[in-house]
Amino acid sequence: MVYDEVVEIRFHGRGGQGVVTAANVLVDALLKAGLYGQAIPFFGAERRGAPVVAYARVSKKPIRTRSSIKSPSVVVVLDSKLSELVNVLEGLKPGGVILINSPEKLDIKKGFKTCYVDAVKIALRHNLMLSGWALVNMPIVGALARILEVPIEAVENSIRERMEGKIGELNAIAAREAYNEVVCVE
């Protein structure tokens, strides 16, 4: 991707799944890849388990836009069951990409590119669990890097910087596996 135009991304997750951290790690990785990013959290009455969103922008130039993202080109869904609660496709640009944490392809409306990765399986493979939840946010960033054509090394290094020690190492490995395992269909 050349990023002449700003690419806008929306993350859907549950409170506690780490969508804000995912957006932040993505922006760190973009910087390492020579791109500019903006990670924008959205705050409301958050609580663990409730549907939450975060946003990001990608560009080859410094980003001046501050208004909210209404029609993203990429939607990232950390929990496939969220689509029963919120319209995760809202505003998604025609021809846009939806990346979803799922073991198999899901039936998504025509006109979008669908990518899926089994982030739960990858997380559990490395025992990345906390309070009964699989830690899927870093594998999801790994898969997203593939879609955005950002080198996975940039993601791995960004994860290691934000999370020290073994936990950073395992998350970096999980991100690379998701980068390799993500499948996209038109």
Partner: protein, 394 residues
Amino acid sequence: MALKTLTGNYAIATAVKLARVKVISAYPITPQTTIVEKLSEMIELGELEADMIRVESEHSALAAVYGAASGGVRSFTATSSHGLLYMHEMLWWVAGARIPIVMAVVSRTIGPPWNIWTDHSDVMDHRDTGWLITFVENNQEALDETIKLFRITEDKRVYLPGIVALDAFILSHTTEPVDVPDQSLVDAFLPPREQPYVFRAGNPLVLGNIPRDLKWNMRMREDVHKAMERAKKVIEEADHLWEKIVGRRHGGLTECYRCEDAKHFMIGVGAWVGDMKEAVDYLRDRFGLRVGLIKVRYFRPFPSEDIIKWLNNAASAVVFDRSISPSVGGPVFIEVLASLASAGVRTPVRGVIAGLAGVDVTHEDLANVMLTSISEVEELGAFKQNVLWFYGGE
């Protein structure tokens, strides 16, 4: 020098660390809290040698910082919205006492109803206190201007406290690349603290006694006014020095974007100036309109001279305000009108009230307001209404 990804709040905390602040006091309030959380962490890790004074209110936070600063050390506080209002009385004391202090205000809507999103009402409510007030557009400017403000406020020609205002969430909690200057560069830029007097044991002073001569009181207020005027030059100098040492300029009191051949001007303060720049490009590229943007970087002192210079031969100007002085208009609009009137400039000016309470405004929205305004002024030679409420495109 190194590019790092920082939120606006972490950019402020980083600037405070680089400025070698010695005393910090604050009371938590959304969306300011992560500034002082980060500073606490820096103190805990031994990265910053400073004392953090915990207090029970914002009024006490500024009182504590005022005490420390009067004792001769560089001091910092931060707040937002209702916290700033609760602090209001102390702002007058600090400015009147001519004690340099830097405060970050994460500008947030004032209730009722409760609302955590950005608008500029909280900061604008303090325009008459005697504090310097700068609004920043992005996290880089948040970092740079905080450091600069220490130098500016501690300049003997100024000796007034200063507010660096950043928009809630769209800057405070948004992560983006920020160039963090080396400590050695900041040390070269920022001399040791100076202030008009220091309270010390063995040198008793009385501050704020009832004056026998009321004219003394009045002269103090005039002196604050004059210092604010002198600050204009000091701000420009600091901007040039920062460029010389760090290699980056944001403009002095104002930044004029694509103004050279502009006929119609947008004017604004704060983060949405970025969206205004997008709107200027859009209007020029898509419609061939000669539109420019005056970004007011310092609201106090107000850059009347710059406004007069740019608008003297302009066809029109539209001022976008994210706050309102009821029955008059937006604070920036009022100052622009006053500046032009003082110089006899009769350029038509419209004040648009938008984005209050965090209502989203896109660059297309801004461009649409400009298209309507420009066609009105070209047809009628004036605006139909001077103050326009704009709620956005949806």
